[in-house]
C-alpha cells in the first residue's frame, strides 16, 4: 500500500477535549442567553415596536408565552371588501401569468414572486368566498409574536449547536451567538412594526404572506448570514493552522 499524500478529501478537523468543552459551553450559553433575552428584553422591545408603529394611539394587548409576559401593538384592520378581494385575486393571477410568459426573468426572483402572488391570491379568493380570511388583528399579532419567541428559542441554540461541529474559537462562537441574538431582537422590532402597518393598510388578506413567507425568510436569511460570515472568517484562520487538521 502507498501512503496517501495529504489531500482535501482525506482530512478532518482535529477536535480536542478542550475544544469540545468550549463548544459545549457555547451551546449551553446560547440556550441560556436566548431564554435570558426573551425573558428580560423581549417585552421592552415589543413595547418599543408598538410605539414606533402607532405612537401613543397603539392598542396594546398583553400575552404570556413560554413563561414570558410581553405586550404587542394591535392595528385596526380594514374589513374584507369582496370586490377588492376579487380584484386582488385577479391581479395576482395576472402576475403569475405574466411571470410565466415574459422572457428574461431571473428564476429565483420569479419563483418568490409567484409563491407570494399565489398565497396572496389564494387569501383573496378565500376571503371572497367566505367573507373573512385568517385572524382578527389581536390574535394574529399574538400568533406572530409567539412564533418569534419560538424562533429564538429554537433557531439560536440550533445555530450554536451546529457550530460545535467545527473548531471555532470561543470568541468566534460567542460573537456568532451575540450577533444572532442582536439581529433577532433588532429585526423583530422593525418587523413587528412593519407587519402591523401592512395589516392596518391592507387588511387580513396579507396575513398569510407575512406569516408564511416574509417572517421565516427574515429569520432564516439573517441567521444563515451570521453563520456563513462567521465560518467564512474562521475558515481563513483555520486554513493557516495545520494543528486543526487531521489526515487519514
Amino acid at each position: 500500500m502507498r501512503t496517501p499524500r495529504p489531500f482535501r478529501s482525506h482530512r478532518t478537523f482535529r477536535t480536542g477535549f478542550v475544544d469540545a468543552i468550549f463548544a459545549l459551553a457555547a451551546a449551553v450559553a446560547g440556550l441560556a442567553a436566548a431564554f435570558a433575552v426573551m425573558r428580560y428584553a423581549w417585552a421592552p422591545c415589543m413595547q418599543f415596536a408598538a410605539q414606533t408603529a402607532f405612537g401613543s394611539a397603539a392598542h396594546i394587548v398583553t400575552d404570556t408565552y413560554l413563561g414570558i409576559a410581553y405586550s404587542v401593538a394591535v392595528p385596526v384592520m380594514p374589513a374584507v371588501d369582496a370586490a377588492a378581494a376579487l380584484w386582488t385575486a385577479a391581479g395576482c393571477g395576472l402576475v403569475v401569468f405574466a411571470s410565466a410568459v415574459l422572457p428574461g426573468q431571473r428564476n429565483p426572483v420569479r419563483y418568490w414572486l409567484n409563491a407570494n402572488a399565489l398565497v396572496l391570491g389564494g387569501s383573496a379568493l378565500y376571503a371572497f368566498f367566505h367573507g373573512t380570511v385568517g385572524y382578527d388583528a389581536a390574535p394574529f399579532m399574538v400568533l406572530l409574536t409567539r412564533t418569534g419567541l419560538l424562533t429564538i428559542a429554537v433557531a439560536v441554540p440550533f445555530l450554536t449547536a451546529i457550530s460545535m461541529l467545527l473548531p471555532l474559537s470561543i470568541v468566534e462562537r460567542l460573537a456568532m451567538l451575540a450577533c444572532a441574538l442582536a439581529f433577532e431582537l433588532a429585526i423583530y422590532i422593525v418587523r413587528v412594526a412593519a407587519f402591523a402597518l401592512v395589516l392596518a393598510h391592507f387588511g387580513s388578506i396579507t396575513q398569510a404572506n407575512l406569516y408564511i413567507f416574509a417572517g421565516p425568510l427574515l429569520d432564516v436569511a439573517y441567521l444563515l448570514a451570521v453563520y456563513s460570515v462567521t465560518l467564512s472568517v474562521a475558515g481563513k484562520r483555520l486554513m493557516r493552522r495545520e494543528a486543526v487538521w487531521n489526515w487519514l
Binding site: N114, G122, R146, L166, A225
Partner: protein, 421 residues
C-alpha cells in the same frame, strides 16, 4: 370543518416529522465525515495487475465539449493496452460524429459507435446499445462534459479489486464555478453532496450511490440485471438499487475527482433537475418495496435506501406542507407553533440545494478550503422555491407517466464548453 382541520394538522405534523428525520440524517453524516476516521478506498492501493477497462462516453450533439473530454481521457496514465474508449454518438446532428471519427483515426483505443435506435435517444438507450461492444468486464462511464484527471481511471478501476464491489463512484467537482450565481450555488451543493454525504455513507457502510458518471460497474452485473430500463431517466439510481438488492457493494472514492460543467442558467438547471426528479421518482415507484424487503441489506442500509429513494419526494412534500399551512392559516386554525415548525424544519433540512443542508455545505466547503464561498450560503435559501417547484413538476411528470403509461423523453442539458477552453 373540524375533520378538515384535523386532517390538515395531521399532515402538517407528518411533514415536519419527515423534515426533522432528514435533518437528523444529514447531521449524522456531517458528524461522521468530521469526527470519524475516514474509510479509505482501494484507489489508494498500488497494484501492477490493473484490469482491462472500457470507457463509455454517451454523446448527443456534444460538438462543443467532445474533443476536450476525449483529450482528457486519452491523457490519463492508464496502461494503453488495457484501455478501450467507446464514445457513443447518440443521434447527433452536429459535428460530434466527425470529431469522434477524427479521434478514432488518431488513436486505436478510440472506437466510436453510432446509436440509431429507431429515433429513440437517451443515456440509458445509448449505454444499452454500447455494452455489447465493450470487451472488458469493468466499464467506466463519463459524460461528454466531464474531464477526468490523469489518475482517475486507475483509481476507479482499483475499486474492483474487491470482488464484492459491483460499482464505483468518484467525486464530481464543477470546473465552471465562477461563471454565474447558478454555477456557484451548484458548486456548493456538489461539495456538500460528495465531500460529506457520499463519503459519510461510505464510512458508515450505508448506501453510497452510483451517480451515472465518473464511475463504473461490472458489465456482467448489468447483464444479470438485464441492462438499463430504456424508459429510465435516472439510470444511475436504478443501477444503485438493483446492485444493493442483489447484495453487491458500491465503493466511493473521494479522491477520484472528475471535473464537470454544471448548468450556467436557471432554465438549463430547471430542465436538468426536472429530468432527475422524473427519473428518480420512477425508480422510487418501481423499487421501494423491493429495497425495503431486500434480505441482503441491513436495517440501516434499508433505511438509507428509503431516504435515498424518497429524496426527490421531499420537495413535493414540503410544497404540500405549505398548502396545508396556508389552508389552516386561512381558516384561522393554525396551531400555535405550526408556522414556525414548518419554517424551521424546512430550513434545518434546507437552504436546500442538492439535498445538502446549509451545515453540510458549510462543512464541505471548510474541508475543501473554500471558506470565502461560504458567504453565499444564505443565497441557497433563495433558490429553494425554485428547487421545490422544479422537483415537484418532475414528480407530477412521473405520476403522469405512470397513469398514462406514456413514453419518457430524454432532455439534454445545454453545454457551453466553459472552463475547458
Amino acid at each position: 370543518m373540524e375533520l378538515v382541520v384535523a386532517v390538515l394538522t395531521a399532515w402538517l405534523v407528518f411533514v415536519i416529522a419527515a423534515m426533522c428525520l432528514c435533518t437528523l440524517r444529514h447531521l449524522t453524516f456531517t458528524c461522521s465525515r468530521l469526527l470519524r476516521r475516514q474509510r479509505p478506498s482501494l484507489g489508494d492501493a498500488y497494484d501492477e495487475e490493473l484490469p482491462s477497462v472500457t470507457v463509455l462516453m454517451p454523446m448527443h450533439n456534444e460538438a462543443k465539449v467532445a474533443a476536450y473530454a476525449l483529450e482528457a481521457v486519452l491523457a490519463n496514465d492508464y496502461p494503453a493496452q488495457r484501455l478501450e474508449i467507446i464514445p457513443i454518438d447518440d443521434h447527433s446532428d452536429d459535428a460530434t460524429p466527425e470529431i469522434l471519427a477524427s479521434y478514432a483515426a488518431r488513436d486505436a483505443r478510440v472506437r466510436p459507435i453510432a446509436v440509431l435506435n429507431g429515433g429513440r435517444r437517451g443515456k440509458a438507450n445509448a449505454l444499452n446499445a454500447a455494452l455489447p461492444h465493450a470487451t472488458s468486464d469493468i466499464v467506466l462511464v463519463f459524460d461528454a462534459d466531464y474531464t477526468p484527471g490523469k489518475g482517475l481511471i486507475r483509481r476507479l478501476a482499483m475499486a474492483f479489486a474487491d470482488p464484492e464491489v459491483g460499482a464505483v463512484m468518484g467525486r464530481v467537482v464543477p470546473r465552471n464555478t465562477n461563471r454565474s450565481l447558478v454555477t456557484r450555488l451548484l458548486s456548493m451543493e456538489r461539495a456538500g453532496g460528495y465531500q460529506v454525504d457520499q463519503q459519510a455513507r461510505y464510512n458508515m457502510n450505508l448506501m453510497p450511490q452510483y451517480g451515472g458518471t465518473v464511475g463504473g460497474f461490472r458489465r456482467r452485473v448489468l447483464a444479470e440485471i438485464g441492462g438499463f430500463d430504456p424508459q429510465g431517466l435516472a439510470e444511475d439510481t436504478e443501477l444503485t438499487v438493483n446492485l444493493y438488492e442483489r447484495g453487491w457493494k458500491i465503493a466511493y472514492d473521494n479522491r477520484a475527482e472528475c471535473y464537470e460543467e454544471v448548468p450556467e442558467t436557471w432554465p438549463a438547471r430547471f430542465k436538468q433537475l426536472r429530468r432527475w426528479s422524473r427519473g428518480h421518482n420512477r425508480v422510487l415507484f418501481g423499487h421501494l418495496l423491493r429495497v425495503l424487503f431486500a434480505g441482503k441489506l441491513t436495517v440501516w442500509q434499508r433505511a438509507d435506501a428509503a431516504f435515498l429513494l424518497f429524496s426527490y419526494l421531499i420537495p413535493p412534500l414540503i410544497v404540500s406542507g405549505w398548502i396545508a399551512e396556508f389552508l389552516l392559516f386561512a381558516m384561522g386554525r393554525m396551531p400555535a407553533a405550526g408556522g414556525l415548525a414548518i419554517a424551521v424544519s424546512v430550513v434545518l433540512y434546507n437552504a436546500f440545494g442538492n439535498f445538502a443542508p446549509a451545515y453540510e455545505v458549510a462543512v464541505a466547503e471548510m474541508l475543501d478550503g473554500h471558506s470565502a464561498r461560504l458567504r453565499l450560503l444564505p443565497l441557497l435559501l433563495f433558490a429553494f422555491p425554485f428547487n421545490a417547484w422544479t422537483i415537484t413538476t418532475g414528480f407530477i411528470d412521473t405520476i403522469g407517466d405512470s397513469v398514462k403509461s406514456r413514453a419518457t423523453e430524454w432532455e439534454k442539458t445545454a453545454r457551453t464548453g466553459a472552463g475547458v477552453r
